[in-house]
Amino acid sequence: MDWVNAVVQGILLGGLYALFAAGLSLIFGVMRLVNIAHGDLIVLAAFLGLTVTTTLGINPLASLAIVVPLMGVLGYLVQRLILNRTISDDILPALLVTFGLSVIIQNALLEIYTADPRKMNAGAIETASVSLPAGLNIGVLPLIMFVTAVAVIAGLERVFFHSSWGRAFRATSDNPRIVGLMGLDRNHVHALAMALSLMVVGLAGVFLGIRASFDPALGPGRLIFGFEAVIIGGLGNLWGTLAGGIILGVSQNIGAQINPGWQILAGHLAFLVVLAVRPRGIFPRIEG
């Protein structure tokens, strides 16, 4: 029974991991950029949520209304002012600049908030649960997070494949050199993509902050989870990323069932196994 429960909780956790990963996947698809600071931005969003929540005295879920747009603006500015200069065939500049950003964000958060773990309190909803047959109990909050993750991914897919925004993203990704001929400013398109990515990051960060305790050093771990979800699921496929997140969450929880200290290691091992056996991921759409 514990095993079934572990798997179910793992699936729900996978939704959160998919949220971590969705922004990463989006950016890679549009600009072939991997943002090393991605995990730290998730943590930044969590702290932003914390500040908004405590200053305004509102429920953390309500803080999303401020955090998400704020992260979007931040994404637009960072891309436009810094990262656009690093995009080229050479991956090194972007990698190193985002690595630098990661160090800056972590230490800025340390300065401002100290290393103490924090957690946001969403109230009664945190302990509410739904009873399922076979004696399973699912927390309402994890369920909401999972459903939101699915909705976000569906939304992103819709934007990508059925909107003029998405058309602009895909065209700029295909051929950034001539996309200007059609009147598209590729710096603007890239910045919009990053804004969208960070809006998802904002959502993921607030969810993280409600679900578990967080501190400034948590970023790299979230980056790695997001990255593993993307690779397991297959590049260029957002639904694949959801599947990857679920597989990761389930592996971690099964590992934790065997030995609580093995939770994260189990996730890494699952990732390495997929890498060994199906290097392109389970549902790949594009090449790395």
Partner: protein, 234 residues
Amino acid sequence: MPDPLLATHELDAFYGDFQALFAVSVELGAGEVIAIIGANGAGKSTLMRAITGLVPCRPGMVRLSGEAVGGLAPHRIAARGVAMVPEGRQLFASLTVEENLLIGGQLARPGPWSLGRVYELFPPLAERRRMPAPSLSGGQQQMAAIGRALMANPELLLLDELSLGLAPIVIKAIYDALPTVIAQGMSAIVVEQDIARAIAISDRIYCLQEGRVSLAARAGDVSRGDIANAYFGT
């Protein structure tokens, strides 16, 4: 006397340290069609890229209706009514045919061209509207690339090496459609290696040779001999 629609003044263009164009001056009035001919590597496509902003140059070297636009970002020049069918088609590979056309219409300038009219002009595109662009044949891709440029309802249309890599029968079909394309007062620059076609379709021609203008004349006024000399630089 009003400014010509397009004028380049002593245009120099470089790829890094390599100079590809030397003091190239060409002119185009509203409603005119000019042809740029020349051997491979003469600088024809470079000229197109300098006009559209893909290759940098000094501001005064390219003027649209008198306004200095040299070196502006491509999307700003496109916003001024310039559209190009690039060399090698360069359709967006992950977009369908229709999406490629729609992206051409991103700027949404008013004008006669629309999705429906492009499909009318090129029926094979209508049949394949939802197919991914790379699945089309060379000739169909060329139609799509032309359609994509038309969707912007440009004042000035640049056609770079339309016949490159296409079978003669396909080239003929495309050139047969061209008069319809450039009717209604659209100005055009046609870059062509096929001299006969270039002369047939244009009002005036320029010949480039190793980055310099070697001949500028009315299409009807030049002899084969003149062209051969200008082409090969004798």
